[in-house]
């Protein structure tokens, strides 16, 4: 079996190498049959990679400990679902997942766009180049098919990974990371083929949106996973590995907005090329961060020999992208100019600059230890206050712009029209702000601003729907006429919910901790927590110790919670098992952590957090996906419009 896996990977490498070389020659010399052959090789590489993936999955399912990867990541007692999920639980497997998704995406993109001959001819070698790097790594640097004499049992899986989110969070993130390769390949293909009109954007709009959605949902699931599993009461720690996923998402967000300006006004062509290259390079940079161990992270992916390879590949991608954009600059001149600083396109530009500035400050923070070590010989790092400062500095204006942008006219807006458009949203925002100050929420200025701006944005979105419905007759018809626009509004509403949830749960949370003996109680934000007893039970692969806590408010029983710890004998590790009460009154949580348990004396050191509005963060995820689906949904009207505009070639958007 391992031989089959290795052979399949070598075949994948051979196929993508052929697609790279033959595809480049075919595109250069305009040889159609050779180009088709290169496309077929890229398609075939998906199937050979799928065979390799099948071999690894089969070994994990059969607990074949002669595979080093299997023996190091699972044990006999580990439930089957987690054993299969161990595919992406380790370095070699996750690289194979990357190649599998990339070859699948590449095959689909080539298949859907085979009508756009000149563009796709150059897209194939770019995709093959990226796939070739990963195939090479898997064949010669980090193989998942290494073997050794099989031990009696494997090392098992880290307890914190034994969570249902392990099944969804990493693959979704990878679908996002890898998905950014497609718009990058089309952008580079457009430059190489000198087809720098909007066709590459149209061809990749849904790809970008899908990758961006996967990356966003993947991060949100990861945040929820950390929240319910890690047991520290937070959901985002500004850790370099978390930032690694946020940075390409921010760059892709900027790109999704600025391509609208290019489509509508023929502007920002260079900027869009830079953004798509930035998003792609940051996705590779994230992979480098997680595998090189060059920066300290709680996720610690340890020192490995992969860092240098990834750094080299990033350098090639950056030089290639910048060089190509520079060479094609004369073709990337804007058709029109920004006519006014008060216009829809100007607000999109402000939005882009804020997003990119935020992205780059995060990048600066992540690489700061490396830079200071290289320049000053002393490693220095920045932490939460640094990131929070820039989140407030750039995030709050971004939130405000979400409410302003959609209401401002294209080209040039008059002050009278602006006054008319903003009267109601501004009034709602102002009343909300004053009411919040009166209610005592002024203790946190960023929180107060976030709530006020959120009210303004929600009012402006609602107003757009009301005005549109009046004109269209029904919401369904309104959305059907312009799915992209109204899907975008729904995503904006989701971001507002997210902002409200983050502001509420961070700026207005209450934390208390206390050592308790059975019968003793503590209070937190109006709740009384009474420690009743300690119990223990045997689970499938762990010993579960749980405290019973009675939660009451105003003398009335609310619920009973069971925070505790799991002890995993095979893995020789302990994990915190938090217990959460979702309070429907304030959409928040009562979050209990059994920080320390002494079974001998039954003493419990309990940490309690009350986090108002935190559930809006998770609710935002559903609205985010719904809005993205609306925006991505096939639109016959749009297809006809695009077909008219680009009558020369078919476009699979």
């Amino acid at each position: 079996m391992p031989q089959l896996g290795r052979a399949a990977l070598l075949l994948s490498l051979g196929l993508v190498a052929y697609a790279l070389i033959a595809g480049s020659i075919a595109a250069w010399k305009r040889r159609r049959r050779l180009a088709l052959s290169a496309q077929n090789a890229l398609l075939a590489s998906f199937f050979s990679t799928a065979i390799a993936a099948g071999v690894l999955w089969s070994a994990l399912a059969r607990r074949d400990f002669s595979f080093v990867y299997v023996s190091e990541h699972i044990s006999r007692k580990l439930p089957l679902g987690y054993a299969l999920a161990a595919f992406w639980g380790g370095q070699e497997g996750s690289l194979l997942l990357w190649l599998l998704i990339l070859s699948g995406y590449a095959a689909l993109a080539v298949w859907l766009n085979r009508g756009t001959r000149e563009l796709i001819a150059w897209v194939v070698p770019v995709l093959a180049g990226v796939a070739g790097f990963f195939a090479f790594m898997l064949c010669f640097v980090s193989s998942p098919f290494a073997t050794a004499p099989a031990p009696a049992d494997g090392a098992g899986m880290v307890p914190s990974l034994q969570n249902p989110y392990m099944l969804a969070h990493p693959p979704l993130l990878y679908l996002g990371y890898v998905g950014l390769t497609i718009p990058f390949a089309f952008a580079m293909g457009a430059l190489l083929s000198r087809r720098t009109d909007e066709r590459w954007i149209v061809a990749t709009r849904r790809w970008t949106l899908a990758a961006w959605t996967f990356l966003g949902v993947g991060q949100l699931l990861g945040a929820h996973w950390a929240y319910v599993e890690i047991g520290w009461g937070g959901y985002y720690a500004w850790d370099p590995v978390e930032n690694a996923a946020l940075m390409p998402w921010l760059a892709a967000t900027a790109f999704l907005h600025s391509v609208m300006i290019q489509e509508k006004r023929g502007m920002l062509k260079v900027w869009n090329m830079v953004l798509v290259a930035l998003a792609f390079c940051l996705s590779i940079f994230g992979t480098f961060l997680t595998r090189s161990g060059v920066v300290n992270s709680i996720h610690s992916f340890s020192q490995s020999p992969l860092g240098g390879w990834f750094l080299g590949f990033i350098a090639i991608c950056v030089v290639f992208s910048i060089g190509l954009i520079y060479l094609r600059l004369p073709m990337l001149r804007a058709r029109t100019k920004l006519e006014s600083l008060v216009s829809r396109e100007a607000t999109f530009l402000y939005n882009n600059l804020l997003l990119v500035a935020f992205c780059l400050t995060i990048l600066w923070g992540v690489t700061y230890p490396l830079l200071t070590e290289a320049l000053r010989g002393e490693t220095r790092s920045v932490s939460k206050p640094y990131y929070n400062f820039f989140l407030h500095s750039f995030g709050l204006p971004l939130l405000l712009l979400m409410g302003i942008g959609p209401l401002v006219a294209w080209r040039r807006a008059s002050l009278r029209a602006l006054g008319r458009m903003f009267l109601i949203p501004f009034g709602v925002g102002a009343v909300t702000g004053i009411a919040l100050i009166a209610a005592g929420f002024g203790s946190s200025p960023p929180g107060l601003l976030a709530y006020t701006f959120s009210a303004f944005v929600l009012a402006s979105i609602l107003l757009e729907f009301v005005r549109g419905r009046r004109a269209a007759g029904s919401i369904r018809r309104l959305v059907g006429r312009n799915r992209r626009r109204y899907g975008g509004y729904l995503v904006h509403a989701a971001i507002v919910l997210l902002a409200i949830g983050v502001a509420g749960s961070s700026s207005y949370q209450t934390v208390r901790e206390k050592g308790l003996k059975p019968g003793q109680a503590m209070t937190v934000a109006g709740y009384t927590l009474t420690y009743l007893q300690l119990g223990q039970r045997q689970e499938a692969n762990a010993i579960a110790t749980r405290a019973t806590i009675d939660v009451s408010r105003g003398g009335s029983h609310v619920t009973t919670l069971h925070p505790g710890k799991n002890t995993y004998p095979v893995e020789k590790q302990t994990s915190n098992e938090v217990s959460i009460y979702h309070d429907p009154r304030n959409l928040g949580d009562v979050f209990l952590i059994a920080d320390q348990i002494d079974p001998g004396s039954n003493t419990l050191y309990l940490k309690a957090l009350v986090k108002p509005l935190v559930n809006l963060i998770w609710a935002a995820g559903f609205l985010f996906v719904f809005g993205a689906l609306v925006a991505m949904w096939p639109d016959a009207v749009e297809q006809r419009r695009l077909a008219d505009r680009y009558a020369a070639g078919a476009v699979a958007a």
Binding site: A148, S160, N296, F301, E378, T379
Partner: protein, 132 residues
């Protein structure tokens, strides 16, 4: 020919972003030094201490706190850092694990800030031990 205001917007935005950045660094300083036990004696202010746990004892929630000893992660110099810590102890914490803790050196003991201890998750993407 009249120039596009886009250039002005970009220039002003870059200037504004730089101003915000300078403001931050002037107020908050330029990061916290991240050191190993071998360099601890040379730093008097707040530092991030990175090390491997050699021995541990005590209760992090008791007045006396938890005491542990750290060694260098890379190229062990033989120097050890004695740490006293109060607050939450992460699940993966134990002897042999790599930890990061924020604090200050006082009278030869590194006094950690409450709740600042983080432990690296040891398994993910660690290099394989033996291969054929």
């Amino acid at each position: 020919m009249r120039r596009s205001p886009a250039r002005l917007v970009i220039a002003l935005s870059v200037a504004a972003a730089l101003a915000v950045f300078v403001l931050y660094t002037s107020i908050a300083g330029a990061g916290t030094p991240q050191i190993q036990p071998k360099d601890l004696a040379q730093h008097t202010g707040v530092v991030l201490l990175v090390g491997k746990v050699v021995s541990t004892g005590g209760d992090s929630h008791s007045p006396g706190g938890m005491h542990f000893v750290l060694r260098d992660v890379k190229n062990d110099s033989g120097k050890r850092a004695r740490v006293v810590y109060h607050g939450t102890v992460p699940d993966p914490y134990r002897v042999g694990r790599e930890v990061v803790v924020t604090g200050t050196l006082r009278n030869g003991v590194f006094v950690a800030q409450d709740g600042s201890l983080t432990t690296k998750c040891p398994s993910k993407y660690a290099p394989a031990k033996s291969k054929t």
